[in-house]
Symmetry: C2
Subunit: 380 residues, 2 copies
């Protein structure tokens, strides 16, 4: 039995992949989690951040995995030390801290942007000076990212050089990672899976299109040359090895104008950028994650169509996509609709659409059109 900490859409889609495989899934869902509970009979309500809830939940399952990395790492560390199968392991989960990630990648030979980490809250003097010095050497604007707690563009700030000093002085959160605002040719994602036996598989390189820092579209093939794609996949394999990943891990990459490929950040789990593998690849990221954490042989990762595109369905507050499937399918009959059982408030991701086609541009347009018909909102 596989236990999943957290009951959002990633747990839901893991459960969707587990059912055909004959793998029983139990979910520890927070009271507000809507995604998984609707479709997983064996759901326990509790707090993935509460040590007692997590320990009690773990005792009933064979392998423990996660819906999101906002879980109690210390409890997982003691479970792991006691011999439990925590996959990904705590060593991998710690890479969700962006400061740790950048430092470990830089010292491990993984290419990353220039960066500096400062901790405005710690009583080490000089945080402000270090940040200002970095900014003055890195062009007119820099990017500041909180090392913990950010997602979907939250806790990321663009700052002019003159804003950096006051920002650091006023900031009270987790340590900050500063990096230059880079001139990006495009952004890529590579999903990679690794099992405890050491088998590693990457999927083909995907383009990710961000809107306001949130992944909005994912497109295959990515608009890069073969050598760039090859380089990106090699980096992703290196990341899987360096982090000791077990399961699926998403590597988000920057491509610069001169074909340089740098790791932006990683997520130590299945990821929005990989949703199109459900229909678009021989093995979906969700099935592969289950195969990896169960130490089963990994599946082939070839794409099943010349072009594949995914577009997120973002809640617009008033229109419920769960009433608009017929409309979307009238416009785009070939759309693969995925709704997550979540109320469409707060500009949350409440679903996604994948379209398979013969050509990148039109396939992307079809996916975007279906997502727009579902959400009733033109976000792109």
């Amino acid at each position: 039995m596989v236990g999943i900490l957290g009951g959002g859409q990633l747990a839901r889609m893991l459960a969707e992949a587990a059912t055909p495989l004959g793998v029983h899934v139990r979910v520890l869902a927070a009271p507000g989690d809507e995604g998984a509970r609707e479709v997983v009979p064996d759901t326990v309500v509790g707090d993935p951040l509460d040590p007692d809830d997590v320990a009690r939940f773990e005792a009933g399952v064979d392998v423990l995995t996660i819906d999101h990395e906002n879980v109690d790492h210390e409890t997982l560390a003691s479970l792991e030390a006691a011999g439990s199968a925590v996959r990904p392991g705590v060593g991998t989960l710690r890479f969700s801290d962006k400061a740790h990630q950048r430092r470990a990648f830089a010292s491990g030979g993984i290419p990353v942007p220039e960066f500096v980490v400062v901790d405005p809250v710690a009583s080490v003097p000089g945080a402000q000076e270090v940040a200002v010095a970095f900014a003055s050497g890195s062009g007119p604007e820099v990017v500041a990212k909180a090392s913990r707690g950010g997602y979907d563009g939250r806790a990321v700030w663009m700052l002019g050089a003159d804003q950096v000093g006051p920002f650091v002085a006023a900031y009270e959160g987790s340590p900050l990672v500063f990096e230059p605002k880079l001139d990006l040719r495009c952004e890529l994602a590579v999903l990679v899976a690794r099992n405890p036996s050491g088998e590693v598989r990457t999927w083909p390189v995907l383009e990710t299109v961000q809107v306001d820092g949130m992944c909005d579209e994912v497109v295959f093939p990515a608009p890069v040359e073969d050598h760039v794609a090859q380089r990106a996949r090699e980096i992703a394999s290196d990341v899987a090895e360096l982090t000791g990943a077990v399961g699926v891990l998403a590597v988000e990459l920057f491509v610069l104008g001169d074909d340089e490929v740098l790791v932006n950040e990683i997520a130590p789990r299945v990821h929005n950028s990989g949703h199109l593998t459900i229909e678009g690849s021989s093995t979906s990221q969700f099935e592969q994650h289950l195969r990896a954490i169960l130490d089963w042989p990994l599946g082939p990762t070839g794409m099943s169509s010349p072009a594949v595109a995914m577009s997120n369905v973002v809640g617009s507050g008033e229109i419920d996509p769960r009433t608009r499937q017929a409309l979307a399918l009238a416009g785009v009959p070939e759309a693969h609709v995925h709704l997550y059982g979540k109320a469409p408030r707060d500009r949350r991701k409440v679903g996604h659409v994948t379209v398979l086609g013969d050509e990148r541009g039109s396939t992307r347009q079809r996916a975007a059109m279906a997502a727009e018909l579902l959400s009733g909102d033109r976000v792109r």
Copy 2:
């Protein structure tokens, strides 16, 4: 909300298709049904043959559909008369009676084998004489099928001409359909979907391979010429219209040596022969059934690979396929494994495997090998 009468593997796979679409499913499962209950939180235990259970269940759902046709037709007829959405409707469900089916098809212009219906139990004299006369005119062997209650090769008998008289004299079941034992080139299946708006879609023609009267393998492409395939699809569309089908309907066909195509029998629902559409077609039979009964636009039915093969996993009693996925995936990493949550007793179908490939023969072998690794049993 869609309500499903019966909680076997067809309900389970309908629920798997409903989840991504954001369609809530409720199941009325018999106490012994294992397939759906494991994965459908909203399962009610009751008897799909009990009028009160069915009426109470129907009151809570928007559209009522079936896992199997062994349901209380009279109750459904009164619900339908009162305006409920029963899909397929009772008029279509009645075609699961093989005597009714043959007579209606013959008079409606659907090509069927020569046949005669006799009712040994009714107090109409002459049943034995009619059957014996048919057998003496139809070659050395005839096939007798009970009009109701048969599946997976049950309630079908091969009889020599001299056995027919004693068989009819001793028989005590539902009326019998007699037909000649035909010289088959191959057997085909065509899945067809129809929605209340009248949209009709057929999938490409599939070959079905039977072992002991039970579907064992399904293979695409079928080994027939284009004009035979085209004829089979036309017949399936005609059957959907004649039966007034709403939802998916499976048409099983005989191909004779001279390219004649005859309807063997139909199932007014999703069907074993269509399981390979889950990965092998743009739209699976399960999603299409939901789209049809909800009167949504139907999806495209093209195949996603040059060759697709499905092989059933049949319980062998001692080995549980739910412990053998890693073995099967080591042998056939590209296999799409589907297990139904059923104990592997009584030579029941407890799962299936689908493989996509480039060439018919090798793809079929790979699927059969994966199924054999799961079941631990060489059935072919």
